[in-house]
């Protein structure tokens, strides 16, 4: 048998051995058997020295081709084997992705905080700052400086908890208006909101003896009722959605004149009328008005030079509207099954 045939034989056997090799180890053995230092192909090449100088290059070329062929197949088979092994491993590693994920305890802000922050952020964006004041307040700031002298019948609108005859739990965040103006006067502008707890002697499904208000106040050279309407319309749209309409109804607060109550179009029914809005299409959300001249004067501003507006809203009321709650007491019961929903 000539070398040429021998080479062809080797090639044929090598290819066959490679395809039947079932593991990386088998394949490696095949490689060693044919291409190794003591492999068959190497053995053949070693015998080339005996060839004539005409034959040598020709056989050499054939031998090279055989080697290349074997190496290429070896490579191919190797990657084939690797692929199938990876496949097997991956399939063995498959997990049940429907098992629950690792549990992290995530808490929640109280819905009143969430809503307060939303309101704060809207007014911060409009250039208001946040002011704070005491919850135990003097009669003077809670009432008298707001144009509610002792024995004023409008004091009945706010049933008050007293600590002493002159100190009380604030019934509204409005005293922060007065404190802020006293501190700021005669500088302009005054532009604040004042969130916080307030207290009234009421306790039922729609009233809580403690609740939260956000007061707003803007005083400057030329502030008008139209500005009040504009600012509150912006607020209504940002808080309740761009479709929201607002409506101003005349009302009465001793510390504003003119005074108004603001309704927004009912988001539940789109103004058609439903249970939530008592079939009126409107929801009352806040009270407001132009700061009463006497309040400006008492706080150190000249009411013929400056005007201002003020507004006050109940955070519980707005929270209940936003989340469609029907019982205010849920907000103070702190049942985690409730808190976890927000």
């Amino acid at each position: 048998m000539g070398l040429e045939e021998k080479l062809q034989q080797i090639q044929a056997r090598a290819l066959e051995d490679m395809s039947s090799a079932g593991s990386l180890e088998d394949l490696n053995e095949v490689r060693i058997r044919y291409l190794g230092k003591k492999g068959e192909l190497t053995g053949v090449l070693r015998g080339m020295a005996a060839l004539s100088s005409e034959e040598r290059p020709r056989i050499g070329q054939i031998a090279n081709r055989v080697r290349e062929e074997i190496e290429a197949r070896l490579e191919g088979r190797l990657s084939q084997l690797k692929d199938s092994l990876r496949e097997k491993r991956l399939s063995a590693e498959t997990i049940d992705i429907t098992l629950p994920g690792t549990v992290f305890g995530t808490g929640n802000l109280h819905p009143l905080t969430t809503v307060t922050r939303q309101i704060e952020d809207i007014f911060l964006g409009l250039g208001f700052s946040i002011a704070e004041g005491p919850e135990v307040e003097m009669d003077y700031y809670n009432f008298e400086a707001l144009n509610l002298p002792k024995e004023h019948p409008a004091r009945d609108m706010q049933d008050t908890f007293f600590i002493t005859p002159e100190t009380l739990l604030r019934t509204q965040t409005s005293p922060v208006q007065v404190r802020t103006m006293e501190k700021t006067a005669p500088s302009l502008p005054v532009k604040i909101i004042a969130p916080g707890r307030v207290y009234r002697r009421d306790d039922d499904a729609t009233h809580s003896p403690m609740f939260h208000q956000i007061e707003g106040l803007m005083v400057d050279k030329r502030i008008t009722f139209a500005d009040l309407r504009g600012v509150l319309q912006v607020f209504a749209e940002k808080m309740f959605g761009p479709e929201t309409k607002s409506r101003f109804r005349p009302s009465y607060f001793p510390f504003t004149e003119p005074s108004a109550e603001v309704d927004i179009s009912c988001g539940m029914c789109g103004g058609e009328g439903c249970r939530v809005c008592s079939h009126t299409g409107w929801l009352e959300i806040l009270g407001c008005g132009m700061v009463h001249p006497r309040v400006l004067e008492m706080s150190g501003y000249n009411s013929s030079d400056v005007t201002g507006f003020a507004f006050g809203m109940g955070v519980e009321r707005i929270t209940m509207l936003k989340y469609n709650l029907d019982d205010m007491r849920l907000l103070f019961d702190n049942d985690v099954r409730f808190l976890a929903q927000f």
């Binding site: 946040i130 024995e151 409008a154 908890f161 502008p189 409506r247 009465y252 702190n334 049942d335």
Partner: protein, 808 residues
């Protein structure tokens, strides 16, 4: 609340628009219509019928058979259990197919074997409020005026063919606590004319002059007192129309005379009082302050102690009424009354309010006086009552009136600059419109060269200032016709203060650590102090007390936040949620000296029970001391607080003395944390241990504002070494760590305790602690030999200080 009968209202003004629209217009003008009731809605086939004969029921003692006629058609036999009907009575009769209030439908039926072809109705069955029915008719069949024509639809007979507007009035609009006041607004809104009720009354017999005398001793509290005298009164029921109207207004008819006074009060807003003239000594009315120690029995039968700041109506024998608040029993009008002295007066609102409140007697009259009634209208109201008395044929009227009017009401004049209207409203209202609005509300307007001189009508006690007039103009012009604008002028930047941002950060950190935010009341029960185990001398027992709490449970202001959270834990535990973590930020109230406001301190409190959430692949970390400590450390780290340390806290009553710590930075105490004392757990019925902390927000704010500075990242690798030592259990880990840090040299960057072990070969009373130490230099790579040297120093220091043995 003012209930306005539309039928009644139409006496004074023409209403040409649908009632819904009227309600809207009133609401948008500031008279909020809270409800529109149609009391007769749904009531059908009920007629006036006369009982011809009553015969006993053959099979039932408690039932009778009434033969009833409706004036036409055949008579009806109706079985009834009512006991107040007699032959000849005219009553509401529901026939077959009738519909009553609440939707009840009447069918032909047999009652104990006798056919009944309908039903005799009570007021309640027709939808009337029994609280405003005459007491003898509140239960049983409603008895109609015997002269009522038969066969009429009952709705027209008893005033159910009416519509009632429920007005929720603001306290400034006392003038609208009257039908005429509301009619005046309606007339202005609709551009209609207002017609006032007839007050002409022809007197007869002797003049009042010489029969009655009025002396006002304190004109500051009573500016006017009008008296009229009625004679030969025949006390009886008032006519049906008057009863219907009073009922519609929510007032119970009593007798013709009392009804007249109430009717005029509702109609004109002026409270009236009727005295039995013959019980008044000398017919002499003295309006004065009560004398010290004076007493009087009021209409309701209770004896009242009067004080010197209360105004009374007296006769020479003593007080006969608490002015404007309640009459006296001795001078009350009764069935036997023959002559009546009628009072129509104007009292000081503040004095009335104070008196009514201190006697605990609020009445329709006092609430009107408080809000300010028209001082000019006293005489008109007295005359109107006289007119009604004659109309009802209830008696005679003595000619003339005693009108004591020491303080004349002077009309107020307010200057209005039309430019100011635009300045305040931000919209120009034409001058002509301004004038016509004000005139429609009965203001008198004189143009004095650009400025308007506006005279306020006497019924508008709430208008003093230019702004008050601007409000009148705005509400009649229409609030919603004023444009939306945004304030011009200096722009401002809105931002939270660092302190406010800190609160946002604290809350966000706490929630991300798995805590739920709660909001609890700022007031609590005094027993909280005991349940929290506070010692008798604890400064936290010095609390603010409410003078008028709703209940004992809410009678003091809290000096601690944690008890509120323990209550919340307990409430949740009782609903079977036992694994939870909560926090609250809020104020505690610490009393200061006399006359000063208390110190209000913002506090963060957190409490946790059970364990953190667990799953199939992770055990829940128990909510123990170390959990809470980790939370606090995470919070402080997040806020950028450095250099805090923990010290044992065994003197805080809320906490377990062996499982509590105080957190400090230098001298400043940030807060306390620990596991709740077992006694306190028991006081709150908590089923398992609770870890908690209370952190002083003010201190936190002070310390956390410090700016952070960047430190370059290390360029050379560090070397980590572990150190295992056996020490006595009672040596605090903090002390060991401190010693390691002190002795470890300048390149020791980090000391971390990663394992604690006892038992096994560790001697009793000792534990093995494993620390990981990291050495690193900024300018070079450290060598093993260097690090070995420092490790030796550390070991020696530990051995010297704590007798710590090294473990390999």
């Amino acid at each position: 609340m003012m209930r306005v009968s539309l039928k009644w209202l139409r006496d004074y003004v023409d209403i040409t628009i649908p009632v819904r629209e009227l309600a809207d217009r009133l609401t948008m003008a500031g008279l909020a219509v809270e409800g529109v009731e149609s009391p007769g809605e749904g009531i059908e086939k009920v007629y006036s019928g006369k009982i011809l004969q009553i015969s006993p029921h053959p099979n039932a003692d408690r039932l009778t058979i009434c033969r009833v006629t409706l004036g036409q058609g055949e008579d009806l036999n109706i079985v009834t259990g009512a006991t107040n009907v007699r032959e000849g009575h005219v009553v509401p009769v529901a026939v077959e197919g009738a519909r009553l209030a609440g939707g009840l439908v009447i069918k032909k039926s047999k009652l104990r074997g006798v056919e009944s072809r309908g039903m005799l109705c009570s007021g309640q069955e027709l939808g009337l409020d029994t609280s405003v029915m005459p007491s003898d008719q509140a239960h049983g069949i409603m008895l109609l005026d015997p002269s009522t024509p038969l066969g009429l639809d009952i709705k027209g007979v008893i005033g159910l063919d009416d519509t009632i507007l429920d007005l929720e009035l603001t306290p400034n609009r006392g003038d609208c606590l009257s039908m005429v006041g509301v009619a005046r607004e309606v007339a202005a809104l609709l551009g209609e004319r207002l017609s006032l009720p007839d007050t002409s009354a022809v007197g007869s017999g002797l003049e009042i002059e010489g029969m009655a005398r009025v002396d006002i001793i304190d004109p500051g509290l009573c500016s006017r007192y009008v008296a009229r005298l009625f004679r030969n009164i025949k006390i009886g029921p008032s006519p049906a129309w008057m009863q219907d109207r009073l009922r519609a207004a929510g007032i119970r008819p009593i007798s013709n005379l009392v009804d007249i006074t109430n009717y005029v009060m509702i109609e004109l807003g002026q409270p009236l009082h009727a005295f039995d003239y013959d019980t008044l000594k000398d017919g002499h009315i003295i309006v004065r302050r009560a004398e010290k120690g004076e007493k009087m029995v009021t209409l309701d039968g209770s004896e009242r102690n009067l004080s010197e700041d209360m105004l009374v109506i007296a006769d020479p024998g003593g007080p006969v009424a608490v002015a404007g608040v309640m009459g006296g029993l001795a001078t009350e009008v009764t069935e036997k009354t023959v002559n009546v002295l009628l009072e129509s007066a104007h009292f000081n609102p503040v004095s009335i309010r104070r008196t009514a409140r201190s006697l605990g007697m609020r009445s329709e009259a006092s609430s009107r006086f408080e809000k300010g009634v028209d001082p000019v209208a006293c005489l008109r109201a007295a005359d109107r009552a006289a007119r009604l008395l004659l109309e009802l044929g209830a008696g005679e009227v003595a000619p003339g009136a005693v009108d004591s009017y020491p303080v004349r009401s002077v009309p107020k004049t307010v200057v209005l600059k039309p430019g100011r209207v635009e300045h305040v409203l931000g919209v120009e209202v034409p001058g002509q419109e301004i004038v016509s609005i004000l005139r429609s509300l009965e203001f008198t307007v004189n143009d004095s060269g650009g400025e308007l001189l506006v005279t306020v009508p006497s019924h508008r006690q709430d208008v003093f200032l230019e702004e008050d007039l601007i409000e009148e103009i705005a509400r009649m012009h229409g609030y919603n016709r004023i444009p939306y604008t945004l304030p011009a002028g200096s722009g401002t930047i809105g931002a939270r203060t660092p302190r406010q941002s800190l609160e946002v950060g604290v809350k966000d950190t706490m929630t991300s650590l798995g805590f739920y935010e709660t909001v609890t009341y700022s007031f609590t029960a005094p027993s909280t102090l005991d349940r929290a185990g506070l010692p008798p001398d604890s400064p936290l027992r010095n609390v603010l007390r409410l003078q008028n709490p709703l209940s004992e449970e809410q009678s003091i202001m809290r000096t601690l936040l944690l008890p509120g959270l323990l209550e919340v834990l307990q409430r949740n535990a009782s609903r079977r949620t036992t694994d939870l973590a909560l926090f609250e930020t809020g104020r505690i109230f610490l009393p200061s000296g006399d006359g000063q406001l208390p110190l209000e301190k913002q506090v963060l409190a957190a409490a946790a029970m059970g364990s953190a959430p667990s799953g199939w692949n992770r055990a829940g970390q128990p909510h123990d001391f170390y959990y809470m400590k980790g939370v606090l450390e995470a919070l402080l780290d997040r806020l950028g607080l450095r250099g805090y340390s923990f010290a044992k806290e065994s003197g805080h009553s809320l906490f377990h003395p062996g499982k509590a710590a105080r957190v400090t930075v230098g001298e400043a105490v940030i807060g306390v944390l620990g596991e709740i004392h077992p006694d306190v757990l028991e006081n709150y019925s908590l089923p398992q241990s609770v870890s908690a902390m209370e952190v002083d927000f003010e201190v936190l704010a002070e310390l956390s504002g410090r700016p952070r500075k960047y430190r370059p990242l290390p360029k050379f690798p560090g070397i980590e070494r572990d150190l295992s030592l056996v020490v006595k259990k009672e040596i605090p880990a903090q002390d060991i760590t401190r010693t390691i840090r002190k002795s470890g040299g300048q390149y020791l960057q980090e000391v971390r305790l990663f394992d604690i072990y006892h038992g096994g070969q560790v001697p009793a009373g000792c534990q093995s602690m494993a620390f990981s130490l990291k050495f690193q230099a900024e300018d070079r790579t450290l060598t093993d030999q260097e690090v070995n040297g420092w490790m030796t120093t550390v070991s020696e220091a530990l051995a010297g200080q704590f007798g710590a043995g090294l473990r390999s």
